[in-house]
């Protein structure tokens, strides 16, 4: 791979590039799924290619190819330089990058059981058992179960001397039961909706999730939802489970802190941000219980946003985002951090694969758990009158990330510190800073999970990305409930 990198860097610099980066990615994937007893997904994928990013006359150029011959690589590098020259001609100011030591490194995410070494029949047998358990529950009209595995190996070389080899293995697994009756379609998923849980782990994650042990309960809850009363409209104290809080973090903290959005680079697609530069170190984002970090370091955990170096060779860091409720930091890259006068990039430039140019993305944006003991049972017991919502069903937020609305699969009333009857079609909505300032309790580390969001979309051309979100169940005061179905 180093030879390919050297061809690319030499060809780009010979044509006038002042910075050249060659990123070679070899990716392998496997997807397996069942649906009402039939195999719905049985696929493998392999892809290898090169992306070349260059700066020339202060303009960016990027080209990608899968033709990894010397001729193909040099043609790709030359095209990247030609594109950069075209960019430079239509710029208001040249790109400036913060300096970064050229790293030479090797890193692999921990993986105890290689998922590609696990016999396919073993995985399919587990999915079939889950399927049979779900469909055995009367009233279930559709059962879905699936697993996905990805091995992402990357070699990064730069004209500054970086030489970084990283490998990440990602596993995802989950299931859902659906039920239709009358005028209602209900769904319950485990351990999360939209494909389940995803982490930088091997097949050991599948074992840890206890999928089969939870299948019957989840199917019964799905059918129960058909008869459950509608979640009422009004203002109530709200407890969110960890997976829903993870998505709340993703949408109302993770995206607005992306510095490229703040600087207007995403104005035409993903949007901008209410977190304008004057708010840094000044805005009371949340209550004093709200402490959020962006942490790509392996010691944060096996999140989808865990890596050793980002895709422009900046080392993984822990960046404080919200400290005791105050807004303290952005997600950044070498050029965006330079634009606001920072000393160093936060290390958040990432690309979906070799075909795509890296852009500012989340790493693991996580809320820290309570340092004081607080179990989920304690959280419920200390709630006099509220609603507990579990598992995301819908999510939407405006293009500056102020106004949001989330729907969940299921909810339960809380009266006098006890969980009561189930409610269907729950939703809640609010304004980002008002919501986070209403947080009055969060569980401790025993209840904290590093959730994976495998499909975050951003950029033009649009890229999917995996991000991590550590979260524990938390309670919010007097949140607007039920607006999605309100008049």
């Amino acid at each position: 791979m180093k030879q390919i990198g050297e061809w690319a860097l030499a060809a780009a610099t010979a044509r006038g590039a002042t910075l050249a980066e060659a990123r070679i990615v070899h990716e392998r994937t496997r997807q397996l799924g069942t649906r009402n007893g039939r195999v719905s997904v049985a696929g493998e994928g392999e892809s290898i290619g090169l992306g070349v990013r260059v700066l020339c006359h202060g303009g960016w150029g990027f080209a990608a190819t899968q033709e990894l011959t010397r001729e193909g690589v040099e043609r790709c590098a030359a095209l990247a330089v030609e594109i950069a020259r075209a960019s430079a001609g239509v710029q208001r100011e040249p790109v400036r990058l913060l300096p970064e030591p050229a790293a030479v490194a090797e890193w692999s995410s921990p993986c105890r059981i290689d998922p590609f070494a696990v016999p396919v029949e073993e995985s399919l047998e587990l999915l079939r058992k889950i399927d049979r358990t779900l469909t055995a529950v009367e009233g279930v009209t559709l059962a879905e179960a699936g697993m996905s595995f990805r091995r992402h190996e990357q070699w990064f070389y730069s004209s500054e001397g970086a030489d970084i080899h990283q490998t990440r293995v990602t596993t995802g697994a989950g299931f859902a039961a659906h039920a239709f009756e009358g005028d209602s379609i209900q769904t319950r998923s485990y351990p999360n909706s939209f494909g389940g849980q995803h982490q930088n782990k091997g097949y050991e994650l599948v074992h840890e999730l206890q999928l089969l042990a939870n299948a019957e309960r989840v199917a019964r809850e799905c059918v129960e939802l058909l008869k459950a009363p509608q979640c009422p409209e009004g203002r109530r104290d709200l407890i969110l489970d960890g997976s829903q809080l993870g998505l709340q973090i993703h949408e109302s903290i993770g995206h607005p802190i992306e510095l490229d959005r703040v600087l207007g680079y995403e104005a035409n697609f993903a949007g901008t941000s209410f977190l304008t530069l004057d708010k840094l170190h000044n805005l009371q984002y949340g209550s004093e219980l709200v402490n959020v970090v962006a942490d790509a370091r392996p010691e944060h955990g096996p999140g989808l946003g865990t890596y050793a170096y980002d895709d422009e060779g900046v080392a993984a860091q822990q960046v404080p985002i919200i400290t005791a409720g105050r807004f303290e930091g952005y997600l950044s890259s070498r050029d965006t951090a330079a634009r606001i006068g920072r000393a160093r990039s936060g290390g958040h430039l990432r690309a979906e694969n070799w075909l795509r140019v890296p852009i500012v993305r989340m790493s693991n944006v996580s809320i820290l758990p309570s340092e004081k003991p607080m179990s989920f049972a304690d959280l419920v017991a200390s709630t006099d009158d509220g609603i507990y919502m579990q598992t995301n069903r819908s999510w939407s937020i405006d293009d500056k990330r102020y106004n949001f609305q989330f729907g969940c699969e299921a909810a339960w009333e809380i009266k006098g510190g006890k969980l009561g009857r189930m409610l269907r079609n729950p939703s809640y909505s609010g304004i980002t800073t008002e919501f986070w300032n209403s947080m009055e309790a969060i569980c401790d580390r025993r209840e904290w999970t590093l959730w994976g969001t495998p499909n975050c979309g951003k950029g033009q051309p649009e890229q999917g990305m995996g991000t991590g979100h550590g979260a524990a169940p938390a309670r919010f005061k007097q949140v607007k409930i039920g607006g999605a179905y309100g008049e």
Binding site: R35, G43, A86, V120, G264, I397, G483
Partner: protein
């Protein structure tokens, strides 16, 4: 012209090389690739500029009632052979699926239809030409004292599909797209256009309209949430209707996850709504064959408000014929909308075309004039499904929302959140515009009109 040397002949050679590798059972090879280049600008200057070239070969094997797929971008013999063996391994360990049909024959798949979707001039555009188009849009922003962000993109793509039953398909097309957001201090405007031919995309014209929207929506006022008569520009219509399309499939009905459960054949939309799926429409793009190589057939999805037909793959059609749905869909047949097998969702109607009789269509200006009080919506954003059966969608307005009073466009308004059932919305359409190819950001392009809708429900207002 071909991308990285790929043409119909070379794709056929790849299929032959896979066959020579000795597949166990039946084999199907799908090849997709192309070049896509996109120039992106913000703050009135280019910020990102990319050119991507790729080709992927996807091999499906079928042995008895077992099927699986493996894909690779390694086009050498070893790469293809490795993918083939992976697919065989995945298929071999499955339990037999009695409902899985043999691969389609060339006779059953239908005679090929060639579509003129390729433009040499568009394929030949390079970085300098794209930069010039971006600069043309930026120039409008600078003249108006606005801050622009947008894209200008061109590309060419190809798709080939072969199987061991004699099916051989080939399609190629070009595309050009411009998108622009103009930002003022407290307002913005947006436009987007996509076409097979770059010569049909008027980037500067889009910039002018977006600039006008940004200017006119300055100093937005807040209106109370509630039910309004709205005029949805075509981009907003596209992004709502795209969510409905997923329900017009046979598998969604078999699995009882469609909003058409128990409603097929009933008058559930307004009589002024007719929606078809037709890949041959002049405003459409894409290949004329599906993921098994079956030729696409036109579908009357909604006829004067009645949900009539749904898309079906071969396998879905066979299952429908054996199910309780057979009485509702007595002539269930493969419609040429199947996805690559195996898959989770069966089929998809992706060439939607609204039909509006020429004499009935109203211009947006006429719709405004007929509205005493309402809202004009340029585009919608972050739309998600709240309720699967009533098809309630939530989302936000964005980049140009205006109050209409006494038949005239007035001030810009702060953006609003809607929670609106789409089935209900299509019962409340007062006027339709002339359908034309339109693009949003949440759905696929379609041939859609502007719509004037009464009683559209907004539930919240945001801060800008």
């Amino acid at each position: 012209m071909s991308v990285n040397g790929m043409d119909e002949q070379r794709c056929a050679e790849i299929f032959e090389r896979v066959r020579r590798a000795g597949p166990e059972g039946e084999v199907e090879v799908a090849i997709q690739g192309g070049r896509s280049a996109l120039t992106r600008f913000a703050n009135n200057g280019i910020t990102q500029n990319v050119d991507e070239e790729s080709c992927e070969v996807s091999i499906r094997v079928q042995m008895g009632g077992r099927t699986a797929r493996a894909s690779t971008n390694r086009l050498d013999d070893e790469g293809l052979r490795t993918a083939l063996r992976k697919a065989e391994t995945l298929a071999r360990v499955q339990e037999e699926d009695a409902e899985l049909l043999p691969m389609v024959s060339s006779t059953e798949a239908g005679a090929a239809v060639a579509l003129d979707h390729y433009d040499e001039a568009t394929a030949a555009m390079g970085a300098a030409e794209r930069a010039a188009q971006a600069e043309a849009m930026i120039t409008v922003a600078l003249r108006e004292g606005l801050n622009s962000a947008g894209t200008y993109a061109t590309g060419e793509s190809y798709e080939a599909l072969f199987n061991s039953q004699g099916v051989a398909r080939w399609h190629r097309e070009t595309t050009a797209e411009a998108s622009i957001t103009m930002q003022a201090t407290d307002s913005s405007g947006w436009q987007k256009q996509n076409h097979l031919r770059a010569g049909e995309v008027d980037a500067r014209g889009l910039a002018e309209v977006a600039a006008e929207k940004a200017r006119r929506s300055a100093a937005p006022v807040e209106v109370a949430p509630g039910k309004y008569t709205v005029i949805l520009e075509p981009s907003a219509v596209v992004d709502l209707i795209g969510f409905l399309a997923a329900d017009f499939t046979g598998l969604a009905l078999l699995e009882q996850r469609s909003c058409l459960n128990g409603r097929l054949g009933a008058q559930i939309f307004g009589e002024n709504i007719t929606l078809v799926d037709d890949v041959t429409d002049a405003g459409q793009s894409g290949a004329a064959f599906d993921g098994e190589g079956v030729m696409r057939q036109p579908l009357k999805l909604i006829e004067r408000g009645v949900a009539r037909e749904v898309a079906m793959s071969r396998g879905t059609a066979a299952r429908v014929r054996r199910s309780e749905l057979a009485s509702i869909l007595p002539n269930a047949r493969a419609t040429g909308h199947g996805l690559y097998l195996p898959n989770e969702t069966g089929e998809a109607a992706v060439n939607l075309v609204f039909k509006v009789a020429a004499g009935e269509a109203k211009s947006v200006e006429e719709m405004i004039a007929r509205t005493e009080r309402g809202l004009l919506v340029t585009r919608l954003w972050y739309i998600r499904e709240v309720d699967a059966y009533e098809k309630i969608l939530t989302g936000m307005t964005r980049d140009g929302t205006f109050l209409i009073e006494d038949g005239r466009v007035g001030k810009g308004v702060r953006n609003l959140r809607f929670n609106q059932g789409v089935v209900q919305m299509l019962r409340q359409v007062l006027d339709l515009g002339v359908p034309a190819r339109a693009s949003g950001e949440e759905s696929f392009d379609m041939v859609a009109p502007a719509m004037r809708v009464e009683g559209f429900q907004f539930t919240e207002v945001t801060r800008f």
